[in-house]
């Protein structure tokens, strides 16, 4: 593959992944409003477009045109940088997530009228993976990116110079540092079983079946790890029942109290992008990624793996929303006790058990 095709493919893949992610973020917001609405016996958005489907677009326009207030007492450089940090790092992790196997591009012949050696040149066949880039430390990269994302929340809380924001920022950083340990440990079991940090290799290790009919997904041997991962990931994304950093009954809106218009929307986007990353990781690490029944003509065979991946991610997003519609919020001491006294020992036990089982 010549360099320019490689670069072109990378640029197209990056743009496409970002576009899909942002669309998914917008429609996860719509889905949440709709599902929570129905759970609470109301309709959710219905006015803009059929089933309120254009509501995300209307909201986006609203955020762009709202007055962007900067309170006079904030520390301006960090006040502006904080939402950028949050959203940039939330959107970056999509770069290493594989959506499917790979597709073959070409071969086809360029038209005759092109200048120089491009005329009649044959391009392809190239095998292009459904992934922006496959690095061999993919999982570590995602963990690193999410651990940097804490600064967005923490700095927003501090730079706003407001006691509610500061408390929210402090809570967020303490909570994320605490649950990051359980999150990392809960994934080590999967890593031991797959023997690789590459998300693609972890998914490839989950092909096939146990006993001929149960899919060889990591969730069956690693159900404790999966439970720990899900709990810790909910806490990492500051979602109900762990949304202490923005608990509106105590802290107004927590770390984003002083933010308005697009700056607020950036925090909003970061939260939902993180949700999608968590759902993608749960699918890849525990539910076999794009593995699923593949049948039919060749077009269907190419599309079905991506469909399975998207369907599994959708299920996890739905569970996120379902939990939000069901559970009340923890108290802060309960949150810390749950993280340190229950989740951390449990994930350690799971890690040791997996290590013994694999070594045996």
């Amino acid at each position: 593959m010549p360099i320019w095709i490689y670069i072109l493919a990378s640029v197209i893949k990056s743009a496409l992944a970002l576009f899909i992610l942002l669309t998914a973020v917008a429609y996860t917001v719509w889905l949440e409003r709709k599902v929570v609405g129905h759970m609470q016996n109301r309709w959710g958005p219905t006015r803009v477009g059929p089933f309120g489907l254009l509501q995300p677009a209307a909201d986006g326009i609203k955020f762009l045109f709202k007055e962007d207030l900067t309170p006079p007492h904030v520390y301006k450089p960090l006040y502006i940088a904080a939402p950028l940090i949050a959203v940039i790092f939330a959107l970056t992790s999509i770069a290493v997530i594989p959506f499917g196997n790979s597709f073959t591009f070409g071969p086809f012949t360029l038209p005759h009228f092109l200048p120089f050696h491009w005329a009649d040149a044959v391009i392809g066949p190239y095998s292009i993976p459904f992934q922006v880039t496959d690095v061999n430390i993919g999982l570590l990269l995602i963990l690193g990116i999410t651990s940097i994302g804490v600064y967005g929340v923490a700095l927003a809380g501090w730079s706003s110079n407001n006691k509610y924001s500061l408390l929210g920022g402090l809570r967020a950083s303490a909570q994320m540092v605490s649950y990051e340990i359980s999150l990392g440990l809960s994934l080590v079991g999967v890593l031991i079983m797959a023997g690789s940090f590459s998300l693609r290799e972890i998914v490839d290790a989950q092909g096939g079946h146990f006993l001929g009919f149960i899919p060889r997904w990591n969730v069956f041997p690693q159900f404790i790890g999966f439970f720990c991962y899900l709990m810790a990931a909910y806490a990492e994304t500051n979602r109900i029942p762990f949304d202490l950093p923005e608990a509106e009954t105590e802290l107004v809106a927590g770390y984003h109290t002083e933010y308005s218009a697009m700056k607020f929307a950036m925090f909003f986007m970061a939260e939902y992008a993180n949700m999608i990353t968590v759902a993608c990781l749960a699918t890849l690490l525990f539910f076999g990624g794009w593995h699923g029944p593949v049948f039919g003509p060749s077009i269907l065979q190419a599309v079905l793996p991506i469909f399975w991946f998207a369907a599994k991610v959708f299920v996890f997003l739905f569970i996120y929303i379902w939990v939000r519609g069901t559970l009340p919020r923890f108290r802060y001491d309960q949150l810390m006790a749950f993280g340190w006294k229950f989740l951390l020992p449990l994930s350690l036990v799971n890690l040791i058990g997996t290590a013994i089982a694999v070594a045996w």
């Binding site: 593959m1 095998s127 570590l140 923490a154 500061l166 950083s173």
Partner: protein, 194 residues
């Protein structure tokens, strides 16, 4: 070196990769040095802490380019992502204000800076004389998790365990220091000033 998908990696010409590596190496190095200078120049602790994060992130980039991708990832996760969060957390909690500017000590100007220059020149001379090899080529070292794992848990197991015990002792020391009965009134942590 950072391994891309097999299908992608083989296609890139070596010269192109090396020049890109070199440019990135210089860029990360510039960021690291600029961040370190900014760390000293800033008067507000939170700005200094953020500069330190930039330095660490840039160092992680350098490790990545040298081929130590596991060390790079750990650098980001542990230093930039956990330890520096606690630094920032402490600064936020204590609401540390802007430091005072001093004119600098005369000892530093007269002895410290020339001494440091002399020392670094000496070290550079010794290193340049005694290292018979060329500078390490960018991206030439093996540093994948698969090579680091056996090194850490077989060959260097004892130093590894001793380090972890050392850290455990440090944690216990911190707990002992922090659990002293408070001598000052409990309100000393409240936000001062604004």
């Amino acid at each position: 070196m950072l391994r891309f998908g097999i299908s992608e990696y083989r296609v890139l010409s070596t010269n192109f990769m090396l020049s890109v590596h070199l440019i990135l190496f210089l860029a990360f190095g510039t960021v690291a040095v600029a961040g370190a200078i900014n760390l000293l120049a800033q008067t507000h602790p939170i700005n200094s802490a953020l500069s330190l994060i930039a330095v660490m992130a840039a160092l992680a980039g350098e490790y990545l380019l040298l081929g130590a991708e596991f060390v790079a990832a750990v650098q980001v996760i542990v230093y930039a992502g956990a330890i520096m969060v606690l630094f920032v957390f402490t600064i936020m909690l204590l609401n540390a204000g802007v430091e005072e500017r001093t004119k600098g000590s005369r000892v530093a100007v007269l002895i410290g800076i020339p001494g440091m220059l002399l020392g670094s020149i000496l070290v550079a001379c010794v290193v340049l004389q005694h290292s018979g090899t060329e500078a390490v080529a960018v991206g030439a070292l093996p540093g994948s998790p698969k090579t680091i794992g056996p090194l850490l848990f077989h060959e260097f197991l004892l130093p590894f365990e001793i380090t972890s015990i050392l850290i455990l002792i440090a944690i216990m020391g911190a707990v002992v220091l922090a659990s002293k009965p408070p001598t000052s009134p409990a309100g000393s942590l409240a936000r001062k000033g604004n």
